[in-house]
Each structure stands twice: as C-alpha cells, then as structure tokens.
Symmetry: D2
Subunit: 211 residues, 4 copies
C-alpha cells in the first residue's frame, strides 16, 4: 500500500516523535554509539537530518513529542527486576548500565522546548507501550505519527509495530533513523516496513510541512 490512499497531510492530526535523541546515543564517547553503531556515518547523517526536520516542525508549530528513556529515578533497574531472570533488553540494559546517568540527557537541538511533549513511562522498546504517548495522541486527536531516531530495527521498529496494531498511521522518516549498520536499515525498508506503515524522507516531509 502506498501513502497516496491516505488523507492529505494534516498538521493538526500529525505528531513528530523523536526517539532517544539523548547522550547515550549522541555523545561521541557514549557506549551505545561506540559499541553498537558500526556504520557511524549514516548514524550521524540521521542526527543531522532529524535536526533539519525538527527545525521545520518547530517553525510550523507542529505537535512534537520527545520519547526518550530515562531511568535516573530507578538506578537499580527495579522496573526490569534488576535484569534478573528476564530476557532481552530488560536484561541487557541493566548489564550495560545505560539510561541511569547523564546519558539520559537530551542533546541540543533535541532538548524539549516549552509546549513540546515529553513522554513519561515506557517499559521496553516501543515508545507507546506503558507510556503517556498514546493518550497524548488520543486526547489531542492525532492519528498519524512520524518516527525518527534510534535504532531503526529495535525501538523505532517496535514503536511502528505497536502503533500499527493500535490503529495509528505511521510514517518512518528514513534518513532520520539509523540502525547499527547500513544493511540493517536496508533490510528494514525492504522486508518489514510495508507490513506496518510507510516511509518518507526529510526533504519530502519538510516540503509538505511548508506547503
């Protein structure tokens, strides 16, 4: 399915969701960037393209939501049972020790501005699951979201899949997301995305915004 059958772009019904534009990924010496991100150039390109999109969205007074991960209030990872006897990210995050320190800081220009929504809660990879993002969207009568951020095949993809099943229309902003490798991004766009949503690039999206 292509996006041509969708309603035309409607600013009031759309939100731009920025996933984990925080020091844990964006600081040059961060563990996630150093150890997980193998293809560093496309990752850095995604950061700068997301900044272009954010500036345009701010200029047009669009709905903007910042969906980070912040466990500074939970330094022993009680949410994840301390990483004991649980599988997946719930074990990996406590083991690596991320998101409980300054890595949870948002990095400029992605620091939330007044009037922008900062998502609270969240229990795993989907930024909609057990968080305030979904009721924010519902209360504001937003039915379409544009996803940017990291990593494409982990948190972005889980959010995409969750949003699809909830009844939202999702556009993944291709050049404003990055996986660990170029190949993972290519795989996502070829084999996964069309089952749950559609893709768009920053240039096209900014044009729509400014039309």
């Amino acid at each position: 399915m292509t996006s041509t059958s969708l309603l035309p772009f409607d600013k009031s019904r759309s939100a731009f969701v920025f996933i984990e534009f925080q020091a844990e990924w964006l600081a040059p010496n961060s563990r996630l960037f150093q150890h997980l991100v193998q293809d560093k150039e496309p990752f850095q390109h995604a950061v700068s393209q997301a900044a272009v999109l954010l500036a345009a969205a701010r200029q047009q007074a669009c709905h903007i939501a910042h969906a980070g991960l912040d466990l500074r209030h939970d330094p022993s990872y009680r949410l994840f049972a301390g990483g004991q006897q649980v599988l997946g990210l719930r074990a990996a995050i406590p083991q690596v020790g991320t998101w409980t320190g300054p890595g949870a800081d948002f990095v400029a220009p992605f620091v939330p501005q007044p009037g922008e929504f900062v998502v609270q809660g969240r229990s795993g990879a989907s930024v909609l699951k057990n968080s305030t993002l979904d009721p924010f969207l519902r209360n504001n009568r937003i039915d379409t979201i544009y996803l940017c951020g990291f990593a494409t095949h982990v948190c972005v993809e889980s959010s995409l899949r969750d949003a699809h099943d909830s009844g939202l229309n999702v556009h993944v902003v291709k050049d404003a997301c990055a996986a660990f490798t170029r190949a993972q991004d290519a795989y996502f766009h070829e084999h996964i995305l069309h089952h749950f949503g559609t893709g768009i690039d920053v240039a096209t999206l900014v044009q729509q915004l400014q039309a």
Copy 2:
C-alpha cells in the same frame, strides 16, 4: 468470593501500592484536601494508617510502589490537550491547576526510599493505565497488589477495576484509603469492591506481614 480461596500471603508475589500520598492531598492547605475532602477525620486517619502499613512493609522488605501524579514537566497539560474538548478529570485537572507544582511532592513518611519503585507515566485515574506499574509487577513476578490512597472512589477504584481486568488480584486496604465522604467509602465497600477484588484492614495485613 472471599479471600480464603486465594493462595496464602506470599511476600515475593505481593506489592504495596501507595496512590497519591503527595502534598496536593496531604498538605493541610491543599486545594484537594480543602475543597474535595468533606469528611476530614477519616481522610486523616487513612493517612496515619497508611503510614503504619508502610513502616511494616519497609521493615519486612516488601515490594513497595509509589504511584503519584506529577505533571511538573507538562505545565500546559498537553497530555490532556490543555483540558480542551475532553471530558472528566482530563478537563478538571487543568481547570484546577493541580499536579504541576509543589503539590506533586511526596510527603513524609511516603517519600520513596532507595529500592522502592516510583511509577512513571499514567494518563488518568488508573495508576496502571499507560504507566510503568504493570511491567514492574510482571517483570518481578508479582500477581497480587494492595492498594492504599486517594480517593477511594476515583483513582483507587479505577486502579482496582483496571487491575482486575488485567488479571491481578487486588486487595483494597480499607482504612488506608479515603473518599471525599464516609458515605462514599461505605458505598464502595458495599456495592463495588466485591465485583473486582477484596478488602482488608491495616491491622490484619500487618499481622500477615509479620507472621
């Protein structure tokens, strides 16, 4: 149904959930206490009984979760669309202006201690809905919760109903909860509670904890 058919009390599978022991309710001059709470004596009794329970739960190293409401990061109530064109608490909270200032402070002895879980997120009356409480319970293999707090017939009851439908066993700690009036508490215990859970009082519960 009575609690006799349940499994015996098992500390590792139980959590004590303290709902909104914050200044917005507990400060003597707070708007909620002043304007909503009509029967002030049973409300104050509930606060002191909850303190008795909390002390016992801390002594026995039980799972403790603090489920407050804190919108200090969202002073324009974007979560609730600014209270515009939404019904219920989503409109009332922005109108009264609660939870975005010092009213969101936890009040001693209910200030979270290290190792106690502080619930993030939440979009309305149920402290489980769109929050991290449910995955905290699941990851820690907790299937039984004890609810204390305010107000019995609003947030405590919504949490009870939501938890029932999720598959949790819920005990409402009668003398550690309060509605606006004694009559509302009585109504809840006579007409509502048994459809969704069961009741217990602090003295009985502390005995179980210390057995």
Copy 3:
C-alpha cells in the same frame, strides 16, 4: 465540566456501544435478571429506551458496536483460570456459570446487523480492555462513544473509566443503562460520572442524531 465545551455532535466521529444486550440479562428467566436485578422496572425501561436509540442510530447509519460477553468457546473458563485463585468477576462468572450457553445470544432488536461491529475479546468488566473495540474506534477515527447497557455500576462504569484514561470522550446514556437498583444508578450519576464523562438521555440524543 459540561458537554457544551465539546465539539458539536459529529456522526462520523461517534459510536454507539451496546453492552450486553444478551439473553443472560434480557431473558425474563435469566439468572442475572432474576437474581441480580432488584428494581426490575427501570431495567426493563432501559431495554426499551435502548431499542429506541438503536432504531434511530440505524436509521442515521451511525457507527454501532455490540459489546457482549461470549464464552461459548471456553466452557471451562480457562480465561479466568477456572475461577480458581482469582478475585472478583473472574471467580463469580465461573461460579454462576454464565455466558457459556444460550445466555450469550443477542436478543432482538439488539442482534447485530450487517455492517455493525461485533466486539471480539475482552477480559473483564471494561468492554475496551483486551478487546477489538478500541482499535475499531481508532481505525475508524472515532473519538466519542455513547454507552448503553448493563450493569451501570459494573461493566458500563468500568468501560467509562477505561475509555476516559485512554483518551476518549464518553457519554453515558442514562435511561438506556440500568444498575441492580435505582439507588445505584442515582449514586453513579451523582458521585461518579462527572469524573470520567458526561450523561445524556435518549430523547436528547435522538434529537441530535436527527438534526
């Protein structure tokens, strides 16, 4: 809050949800009607008023959803663990033995017609929880629901509370719902409803529909 601050009635964004208009309640010799419903006249009045509303909604081609309970595929109540070691309705339903036989039949004129949505799933009192009602609403861009059915203070109220926290606007159709007693209905309308939604009666609603 009054409904005057809401958007005007918009048929395309509204759904009429009929809760449990099934033989388990509506058959004169049914256990629920016989044993739970004490004030039989207002209950029967609610059934006939709901029929008036349904006819009008059908005539205007409104979105109609039938939210019943049907456990005929699960005669041993595995969903509720057979009623063992669970509290509330999950224990009561298996004990009474409802919803696994002909009591689950819809009763005329409330039998779903082609094009009307029949909710699947559901795990307790809220007709939105773990069911297809919410994604049906979302996919069809419906943000406002009108609730009718039984019982006011059990399933209707749980649905109201759940929908509020999800970000929907809820109107409870007063004279098309009934509790077990008149007093329970009165209590609900005085003490509970305004925290989560608003009320309307069939005559007013039919006028809006036909305007």
Copy 4:
C-alpha cells in the same frame, strides 16, 4: 543474554502459543502459502515440527493457546475501516480478502482440543494486542511463552516484541516458525531475536518437556 540465567523450565508457568495454524497458511492452494511463502520447504518443515511439539505438549498436559485470526464475523473488515486510509496489514488484509472465509479454519492436528485456550480478539500482528491472550496468561500465572507459527518476521516477531515490553519471557521455537524466505528467518535470528527473547528448537524443547 542466554537462557541459562532463567528459571528452569516450569510447566505450570509456561504456555505454548500456536500462531495462525489455519488454512489461510496451511492449505496447499491458499493465497498466503502460494503467493507470500517463497521458500516452501522450510515452511512445511515448520508445520511438521510444530505438530511434533504440539503432540508432546498435549501428552504432558501443558498450557496450549491457539492464536489465530478469524474475521468471519466481520466480512467488510470494519475493524480495519474497510482498509481505507489505514496503512500496513490493516489495508493489505482487506485488499487480499483473507481471514473472512474457510481460510480461518484451524487445520489438523492444530484444531483446538477441549481445555486448550482459543485466543479471542486481536487487532493486528501481535497476538497479544487487544486480545484475550494476555489476561489468560496472567490469570493462570504463566510468565513464559513459547511461540510457533507464521510468519516469523511479521506476526511472530510482533508478538515477541509486544510480550517483551509487557514483561513476559519469550522463547521463539526456531524450527516451528517460518518466514517467507530462509534469508528472512536467518536475519531474524541473527539481528532481532536477542533484543527481545531467546530461541530454542523443537528437539531440545520436547526433551525439557519430557524430563
């Protein structure tokens, strides 16, 4: 993370979830098998391996859940707004016309037996989302699931991701699942699975079951 840090296999806390063992996939002339499944041999191998697992699970009286898709009650796909102005599977399913006819039949030996749970509801790819699977697990105190079925990278993977974020431990039964191609299965196991759960094969699992 490896499964060695998990609790040992506990039958009472585990469920075997069979995803879409229905004619829409399993009938030799079905559209999904004909058009989507490119590598037919591994798909057919997965069906026979799943049958081995199901027989062992039945012999040991394990918790078994059948998570199909069945839209025979909704032939105009109202759940998905008729596929209009929605993206992903919600548009593709109405376009292809699946799940509203005999393709929704379970195929032997995967036809649910008495005492086996048949999941109701579901709104997309995850078999947990808006369905009765999650409360079935919770009410029965099951915290670990084993996933089999189709397709690995669509519904199995969405279920895995959703279950992880809900707080469940998930084992994907490798040789009892299949994607459209061998390469997609290989990609899933190398790049995706460890973020959310772990893998096991039928032989190892049957040994654990019979130990």
